[in-house]
Symmetry: C2
Subunit: 154 residues, 2 copies
C-alpha cells in the first residue's frame, strides 16, 4: 500500500516535471531574450556616451534608454519560476540555485535595476551627455551586482 502510494506520488511528480520542463524552458528563453535586448541597447548607449561621444545621437540614446527601462518594468519576476535554474532557453540557464534561497536579495536587485533604469530613461530625455554617462554607470552597477550574486560565471 505504502509502495503503491509512493509510486503514485512518483508518477504524479514525474508527469508534472515533464510539463514544468517546457514551461521553465520558455521562461528562461524569454528572460535571456529580455536581457539580450537590454544588452544590445546598453551597448548603443555605451558606444555613444562613453566610448565615442562624438557619435552621440539624442534620439537613439533616448530610444535605447527607454528599451532598457521597458525591460526593467516588464515584470521579469514572472520568468523566475522554481526550477528555472535547471532549465534551458536559448541556452542553459546560468542562474545560481541559491537565487531561490535569497528572495530578499533578489528583490533588492530587481528594485535597484528598476529604479536606476527608469532614472536613466528620464536623464536620457534631457540630452545631458555627462549626466547620462553617470546614470548609465549606475545602471551598470545594478547589472553587475546581480550577476555577481546570482549568475554562474562562464
Amino acid at each position: 500500500m505504502k509502495f503503491k502510494l509512493a509510486l503514485a506520488v512518483f508518477v504524479a511528480a514525474a508527469s508534472t516535471a515533464a510539463i514544468a520542463g517546457q514551461a521553465e524552458d520558455q521562461q528562461v528563453k524569454f528572460r535571456q531574450s529580455a536581457y539580450s535586448f537590454a544588452a544590445w541597447n546598453c551597448s548603443k548607449i555605451k558606444s555613444q556616451v562613453v566610448e565615442h561621444p562624438e557619435t552621440y545621437n539624442k534620439e537613439q540614446v533616448v530610444a535605447a534608454a527607454n528599451s532598457v527601462a521597458a525591460v526593467a518594468n516588464s515584470g521579469l519576476g514572472a520568468l523566475y519560476g522554481p526550477g528555472t535554474d535547471q532549465a534551458t532557453g536559448w541556452k542553459k540557464s546560468r542562474l545560481k540555485p541559491e537565487f531561490f534561497d535569497k528572495p530578499e536579495d533578489a528583490k533588492k536587485a530587481a528594485v535597484a535595476f528598476n529604479k536606476e533604469a527608469n532614472e536613466l530613461a528620464k536623464v536620457a530625455a534631457t540630452g545631458d551627455v555627462g549626466a547620462i554617462k553617470t546614470q548609465f554607470g549606475k545602471v551598470g552597477e545594478t547589472c553587475k551586482s546581480c550577476h555577481d550574486s546570482f549568475r554562474i560565471r562562464d
Copy 2:
C-alpha cells in the same frame, strides 16, 4: 524621422558588411531576442485583453505595451545588415533573402509596426480594454504581414 535614422544605420551597417560572419550572427541574435521579448509581452496582452479579460491588470498591460513599443522604436533596421539572412543567432535566421531586394516593402513593414505599436502604448494608457483589444489586433496584423512577406515558414 525615426525611420530615416534607422535607414541611415542600416546603410552604415551595409558598408561594413565585409567584417561579416560574427557581426551578422550577433545582429541575428539581437533581433531574435528583440522579437522574442516583444512576443512575450504580446502574449501577456493577448491573455489579459483577449482570452481572459477577467484577469486584466492595467499596470501590467501598460508595461507590456510600452515594451512592444520600445522594441519597435529601438532601431531594429541596424540588425538587418546584408548577409544576415544566412546568419545564425540563437538559431538560424528565417529571414527570406528577397528582404534585401525589396527595401521599400521592408520600410513599409517597419513603419507600420512602429506606428501601430506606439499607438498601442497610447491606447493601453487609457485603460479602455475594448480599444486596447482593437489596437492590439492592428499590431498583430503588422507582425503577420511582415512574417508573410519576409519570414520563412517553419
